[in-house]
Symmetry: C2
């Protein structure tokens, strides 16, 4: 409790200025500026240490609001995702946070809770907060681009697997991923393969359905049953029960998300149906939960880190500027036991 040598304790509530720091460290205010902003001029290590010590002792905080006004940048980006309690989106959000931090940007995270109106409201709120741009993972396969344009903020669409004229977008190859997963189930000898897909795709065609169809067609197999449910555990659970009750019960299911597959697994377990013995299962996303379900899920892994880095780069990094570029990443089949592999 040495109050004599720590000015911050003597006057804890008075705002500490750059000038105070300069005086305490015995340097010019310009040098304090260089240390705080990492340039433009270099500062000798010993001097920097003195300044950092003064900053710490005095409790100096560079005024970010004043800095944002001056720079015309808040060094912050916004991220809108449907639901960060979906492990795939929490993984994606984490990856975006890390990629933004690499460039010195902080992340304002918002959840749209699968609600389109909330999504647009978040985009507008983020714009009003002067973020440098927004990464939007829309609840719809095809977000309302005209309304997004009206928000007057730079937007990159993430987890978006189709062209979006006027927007940068980053996504995964849904069609090829689905084809690979369904093809793998066919390789296990299945001839009746159901599709458990999402409901919130708007009017847009989910290419995973096309991938499922193409894989079946290529093997000369008939279409299995289709059930639609929300991209949630509960949605998958309901889908699983419906498939179990259907007249043409399939011997395999391709689910368009891990979360739905986890719900399907519960429905199958409760009904005493063995997986993969009675019904095999493959899914899409590659979240951690898929690895720890029982049996572990064979799933198409989306390269979340690479996708997040590409979106951040398009928004504020090296690839900024090309406004209509669409980057598509390949998914990778992760083979575990739910498909029938040992």
């Amino acid at each position: 409790m040495d109050t004599m040598t720590t000015p911050a304790v003597q006057a804890p509530r008075s705002p500490v200025t750059r000038k105070d720091v300069a005086r305490y460290a015995g340097v010019s205010t310009a040098v304090v500026s260089y240390v705080v902003n990492g340039g433009p001029k270099k500062v000798a290590p010993a001097t920097e240490a003195k300044v950092q010590d003064a900053i710490r002792r005095l409790g100096y905080r560079p005024n970010a609001a004043a800095r944002a006004l001056k720079l015309g940048s808040s060094e912050t980006i916004g991220l809108v995702i449907p639901d960060n309690s979906n492990p795939f989106f929490s993984l994606l959000a984490h990856a975006v946070e890390e990629a933004a931090a690499e460039l010195g940007y902080a992340l304002l995270l918002t959840n749209s809770d699968g609600n389109l109106a909330k999504e647009l409201q978040h985009v507008r709120n983020l714009a009003a907060r002067q973020v440098d741009g927004v990464i939007l993972s829309s609840v719809l396969m095809e977000p309302g681009l005209a309304e997004l344009e009206s928000a007057e903020i730079r937007i990159v669409l993430l987890n978006h697997s189709a062209d979006a004229p006027g927007f940068n977008s980053v996504g995964v190859d849904l069609l090829e991923g689905a084809k690979t997963a369904v093809g793998h189930l066919i390789g296990h000898g299945h001839t009746s393969i159901a599709l458990a897909m999402g409901t919130n795709t708007g009017n847009y065609y989910d290419s995973r359905e096309e991938g499922w169809l193409q894989a079946l067609a290529a093997a000369g197999l008939p279409e299995g049953p289709i059930v639609r449910s929300p991209f949630t555990r509960e949605g998958g659970y309901a889908a699983g029960k419906r498939l179990l009750a259907s007249a043409d019960r399939p011997t395999a299911i391709f689910a368009t998300s891990d979360l739905q597959a986890v719900g399907i697994l519960r429905a199958l377990h409760e009904a005493g149906v063995s997986v993969p013995g009675d019904i095999a299962l493959a899914s899409f996303d590659g979240s951690a939960e898929a690895e720890y379900s029982w049996p572990p899920l064979t799933t198409v892994k989306q390269p979340a880190k690479a996708m997040a880095e590409a979106a951040v780069s398009a928004l504020i990094g090296a690839h900024r500027g090309n406004e209509s570029e669409h980057l598509i990443f390949p998914g990778e089949l992760q083979v575990r036991q739910s498909c029938g592999c040992p």
Copy 2:
């Protein structure tokens, strides 16, 4: 493409001011201010609609940086959590976001990745960004309070279950929660109950260990084996394998987090051990993943929403000000099948 009636298209890059909006809507700049800030004076609905239309058409964005300078508030709070890919923390983060939004605040979210140095760095960075306060869910049971104080920013500790002098804190009753869960396993007739606990508790005593001990002592039972591992699925998996290999293999396990329990389940399944037949399991947190594991986990649910609201209220809401208040919430046992209940 009616460029004659939409000024934003004629001059898309010039900054639109409050004056432009006022002129377009045919109102005073004060009225624009009331609409944008929701007060202090009320505006007639028809006038508000005109102003909102003008804002939308002109692409006006109130300057948040200027506003922050004027108000001395960025209307933003920071949240530091160990890992948002842990479903309990993603649930907590979501609840904090909603509680902050209720008060008109946005959320800057950062992950410390279980790293104490990163946690402190995040707190300091958030302070430099002029957030109005930070909610910290520390990686340690007992964070370095002196170092946090040196960050010179208002901090509320969340998910913190002990007194923290000089700080508001919000947590769950770990001891009673653990006692209840272990007592429930004892009620199923178990006499050898292991404890799977976390490693990153610093020098602080995790009261869940005390709860486990007290429940065993109250029933006159001996202490079961203890394994320590990280609060992750992988950590639980390793803990499960070690318990299976131990000389005094328990007939029941109390895990201090759902994520560890999910890993333990995998280890038991792989070894062909039936749950709850051969080994029963109960855990702590009450995350969604616990409901959808197989068998579903009996777990002590932390009231994430109430805890998040209390933390936000202590930081920026009605309960702001009382700097040393410690709020502790009771956990609630959610009985599912992993314990042996039907």
